[in-house]
Symmetry: C2
Subunit: 310 residues, 2 copies
């Protein structure tokens, strides 16, 4: 049976995108699928399964090699074949991302902010701190204040230690009490965290994948390979947006936040395709010891619990 | 009996100071003494009692007149004589100052800060807010943050309303949890609140009045007029320093804070001279209805409780 037009369009659009970010798609595949099946796979399986996404054999080989060098992957040689797994670092990064990607809902916020005042830093130190903390979700609320709603104190302390500035900054736990401040903060968050640009990306994601979900639901039994492709692309695109989403609490986001709709869409797409995708993975991918082992039981907790469609 | 040399030196030094700030000394006299004796006094009594401080009759008249215009004082004419009292505004200002001047000890601090982020203010508004809040004890902790340890939220809200910026700033309650931040804040406070300059003023106060207390204690019975003069000058100088002291909590001040020693000194000077000064006030100052009425009972609560020396 042939794939619905909207799904082949999706793959075509991905293939035509330049530059082709091979490494990023390989990371998605390891995180979303292979990590749940023992964690290791033959390079040849990667090459076969990624060809329809427009990744040439050469690109998969060079991308995997660079991921090895960057310590995202490790490899093992058995006979003439190479087998790849997530490295310890890669696994930790994946687990950190997975908590957000497969979350059932936005975490509750207790209204607390962490503020960092880089009081005694020289310019270079301040800039390095600002860069690193922005990566961890902080934004400059004002010239001399970095803030994060619901930030984790433990993670911050680690960062300050690493940068050697723990005793040169003031860290405060803060909260607002009045409605005026809350609404000013909401306005502020819009600028500081570039909410408009993020919302645009979520809207574009929705526009692309809404018709895909409709097509998947219309199609009685979508072939396993297409299930795998839809699931992989949906998670890939969603994951890429999350990298730029600092997970602001709902209280600081616009009403009807597109990110919520996107989470709902990706979770429904996942439910609709994961079983077919699993069939594909188990029948097409191999390890040094034969086909992939069965999926981890933890897999079924994704998005608050996956239920097989009957 | 003649006044000890150190006390006449004290008065001489005051007399020689230029410019002579007549209004300020009159405010001290009303706040410290007359407010406690019905609140009203004949202009002639002011002139007589302030002459030894180097205030000419003309200066007392013009100063009192300007205080009337500035709404610190009100006046009442009975026959050919003028009687002055603190205005309602003046009384409120005095009461606010008195809580600090006659405090037995530094108030306890709960570790809380109030932070104000002037996020959406244009330059003039930000400058006006910064000026007003500095007056209320706030300092810029960093370019975009005004902060006050133990600030009063109620007072801040009033100020924000008055300046019409309540919905354009973010107000946060904040506290630090780690020792490193506390020590950085202590360093910061030193700069932000110009602690060194303040300490210098307290040390100079101590150097001037320590020998005065010794002289008072050596002198078996200091004449009432000298008691009045010592008490008035000590409170006057101390009050002037407090105007520039934002009452930072002990935790943010240097150890052995000179302000604590100054409070102890002024309170001991007060205990040693108040009874004599009261004799002077009751025998030399008159109202439209005769001598000053007896002192308010609340007077004896000053400095945690005055006890008559026996």
């Amino acid at each position: 049976m042939s794939s619905p037009r909207v799904i082949s369009d999706l793959l075509n659009a991905f293939r035509e995108r330049r530059p082709i970010r091979g490494r990023s798609l390989i990371i998605t595949l390891f995180g979303d699928a292979i990590s749940q099946h023992g964690g290791s796979v033959w390079l040849g399986s990667l090459i076969d399964s990624l060809a329809p996404f427009g990744l040439s054999e050469r690109l998969v080989r060079t991308s995997s090699y660079r991921l090895l060098q960057e310590n995202w992957l490790t490899s093992r040689q058995v006979g003439r074949r190479s087998y790849y797994s997530l490295s310890e670092t890669g696994l930790r990064q994946y687990q950190r991302a997975a908590r957000r990607i497969y979350a059932a809902s936005r975490p509750r916020w207790d209204g607390q902010w962490i503020l960092v005042l880089p009081s005694f830093l020289v310019d270079e130190e301040r800039e390095a701190l600002r860069r690193q903390l922005r990566w961890e979700g902080y934004a400059a609320l004002s010239t001399g204040v970095l803030g994060h709603p619901g930030g984790q104190r433990h993670a911050l302390d680690e960062t300050l230690q690493e940068l050697g500035v723990a005793d040169k900054v003031v860290v405060m736990n803060a909260h607002t009490e009045d409605a005026a401040s809350q609404s000013a903060l909401r306005e502020l968050a819009k600028d500081c965290w570039k909410i408009d640009g993020l919302e645009e990306r979520y809207r574009s994601f929705l526009a692309t994948f809404r018709p895909v979900l409709q097509a998947v639901e219309r199609t009685k039994s979508l072939p396993p390979e297409q299930c795998f492709q839809v699931r992989t692309l949906a998670i890939h695109e969603y994951r890429r947006i999350l990298l730029n989403d600092t997970d602001l609490p709902q209280e600081l986001l616009p009403g009807e936040w597109a990110g919520n709709a996107a989470r709902n869409l990706v979770s429904n797409l996942y439910r609709a395709t994961f079983a077919g995708a699993e069939d594909y993975l188990e029948s097409h991918m191999v390890t040094a010891e034969g086909p992939l082992p069965p999926v981890d039981q933890g897999f079924f907790d994704r998005f608050g619990g996956l239920q097989k469609k009957t």
